[in-house]
């Protein structure tokens, strides 16, 4: 009887043991690759919160080569302001609009909920930015993908 009880406890422990299977990288960002040698000295990206319209700085880089930016959980469009300060001191602001769709993603009850996205379109003004091209439309945990290629104008 003792042996049977011991076995039941062993099986319950085996069955009850669990591991956390959350992916190591569980952040969802969009990744931009700067494709041209630009005269941009520093690049700041800001947006405005939907709740209180307060400005949020998403990123600030010197001599940008690439950048990663968050993407909103909800909403069909994200409006981003790329503030480019040239080496000459000139500062310009481009408005980039990303049109997207959103998909809830569930891994496990132990893992933080995530939202994946599909990039549908991107438009930009052309003060410092020449063009932005979508390379990969799926925005998920894969941080090796460069979703956008951004081309700056040569300004002085």
């Amino acid at each position: 009887m003792r042996k049977i009880l011991g076995f039941i406890i062993a099986v319950l422990v085996l069955v009850g043991c669990s591991t956390l299977d959350c992916p190591l990288n569980n952040s969802v960002y969009t990744y931009y690759k700067v494709m041209s040698d630009s005269t941009v000295d520093t690049l700041s990206v800001i947006s405005f919160r939907h709740t209180d319209n307060e400005g949020v700085q998403l990123n600030k880089l010197a001599n940008p080569d690439s950048l990663q930016l968050p993407i909103s959980y909800t909403g069909d469009k994200d409006i981003l302001y790329f503030v480019s300060k040239m080496k000459s001191g000139t500062e310009t602001i481009d408005t980039v609009v990303i049109t997207k769709s959103n998909f809830d993603h569930f891994e496990s009850v132990d893992c933080s909920p995530s939202v994946f996205h599909k990039l549908l379109d991107v438009t930009t003004t052309h003060h410092a930015i020449d063009s932005i091209v979508i390379n990969h439309r799926d925005v998920d945990y894969d941080y090796s993908k460069k979703h956008f290629s951004i081309y700056f104008r040569h300004l002085h």
């Binding site: 099986v11 809830d104 909920p113």
Partner: protein
Amino acid sequence: MITAKNILASISVICTSLLLIIGMPANAQEKKIEQNSNTEKIKVIQHIAISADLIGPIQMAVSDYGQYEAQARFDIKDKFYPVVELGVGKADATDESTQIRYKTAAPYGRIGCDWNLLKDKHDIYRLFAGFRYAFTSYKFDVSQPHLVDPVWGDDVTFGAEGVKANQHWLEAVGGVDVKIWGPIRLGWSIRYKKRIAHQDGFLGKTWYVPGFGKTSDSQIGGTFNFIIEL
């Protein structure tokens, strides 16, 4: 010289030999009759056993998931045991840190066969090994009532209801059961479960699969069975 004594001895030898010769077929016949009667005693289907797993309900009581499972087992000459298992697996789990709730309840089925590994097949103890093929089709609900976008501040309703999923898997089974009293037996089994095909639905992944356990490529599980032989 042939004496009476010699004749008597010869007659004795002949009679003894004759008796032996007559006796052998009789013994063989008795042995054959005994074997025949033994063979006649062993039916093809010795018993049909109905059992219930006791670990599943205990698991349900002490954790967020578990199952109710019953088994019908056919005893073929105390050697082979074709088995059908049916159960209902349930989960209702909410994680304290993420506040995500996962809920599902669905039936599952297994079919397979066990083999009695003991030399004496008719002993009250049985040591068996076998396999199962299992399948379940289920729906699950995931919800997180209060998810806030950390950058843009939006309040997001996360999750979905009635997400359809299914899974096929194989099990390698080993176990023991023993006669306790009359038709009542108790037994336990340990199982290695290996997923062979699955569809997790549109939400990403599943967390608990009825009959299989928490989602992974493989699992180790067990049962403790209360068995009645009919």
